[in-house]
Subunit: 198 residues, 2 copies
């Protein structure tokens, strides 16, 4: 059965991005690659984790993760990831601004969903078949799905840095229990995976 | 040389206590022993961690951790811990209300410090000799010492629960780097210890 997963790289103080995210600094002022360095510097050490991030057959992401700006679409903007985004699967982007679907190289298609998080998740489930669906981010989107009780598995990649401010995971999600599944990591990151208990 | 350490049991969403702490519910409404169950249910599994919590030769704690209420002292109140508190060492309590020192059984003395966090830490260092000093809590006190850059080693005991609200660790401490020292744990808790890099 389809599982809904969510992988988030997070500072020790609970932020998945800093303040003032922009096109120049998508993870916020001064954050750069600090939360994701483990992916690039030590891919072999985290091969199993990276494979799990890559495994879902469909993704849902927020408008703010797809690109900067909140108004009308800049139709030249095709995401942060170049011509061949790393998803290689259907990606459903939550937005209030309708836009035609975008087919990218390597199997990624961006479909823009204007009728809410339940619709986006339903479309992603449909697209994933018997594969898993991942909520890709950012924080606001993940928090909405956590609050709705839609996420089955939460995989936190805790980086040894205190950001002090930014986009906070778990904001407004209410209270619930988790069940610890696995712990692994290196000096650059600790992977903590949990099953959400409802 | 004396190290300043801090051990905090914390929910995955960064709270060390829930809302509405009271004499009946010192860790906040509905929290009970949820953050500390590992200490009581599996002391053998966490023997090294518990020994480290016990090792410091002096402690500093906030008024709110010593007891409920914020006004004039109820002189009958001698802390939460009965006649023989588990510190077995000098404990310096931050407060705005002067009070005579309290000598308890087993070597714990509570000394009430009214001239601020630097004074309390200096007195604890003096009392500890060449032993370590621990900042015992609560969140507001730890956050003040983190903001001041006084803590050398931060040991988080992350419990698989999302509290949703309460006393938040890292509030207002600014940004800094950590160096991961050790990771261990069980299903009930993940121990993450860090050196604070300044």
């Amino acid at each position: 059965m389809t599982k809904v997963t969510c992988d988030m790289a997070m500072s020790v103080d609970g932020f998945v991005a800093g303040i003032n995210q922009s096109e120049a600094e998508p993870f916020g002022e001064g954050v750069g690659t600090r939360l994701h360095r483990w992916m690039f510097d030590e891919p072999e050490a985290h091969a199993a984790v990276l494979a799990a991030i890559d495994a879902p057959r469909a993704y849902v992401m927020g408008r703010n993760m797809f690109g900067p700006g909140r108004g009308a679409w800049d139709l030249q903007w095709k995401g942060w990831w170049g011509d061949e985004p790393p998803y290689h699967a259907p990606v459903f982007v939550l937005t209030h601004q309708p836009r035609e679907p975008l087919a990218m190289q390597g199997g990624t298609t961006f479909t823009f969903v204007t009728d809410g998080i339940e619709s986006a998740l339903a479309q992603a489930r449909e697209a994933a078949g018997d594969g898993d669906v991942a909520i890709a981010g950012g924080a606001a989107t993940v928090n909405q799905y956590l609050a709705a009780g839609s996420i089955d598995e939460l995989r936190l990649h805790v980086v040894p840095v205190v950001l002090g401010a930014g986009e906070r995971l778990f904001d407004g999600v209410g209270a619930f229990d988790l069940e610890r599944l696995e712990v692994s990591g290196s000096d650059l990151v600790t992977h903590l995976s949990y099953r959400v208990v409802r």
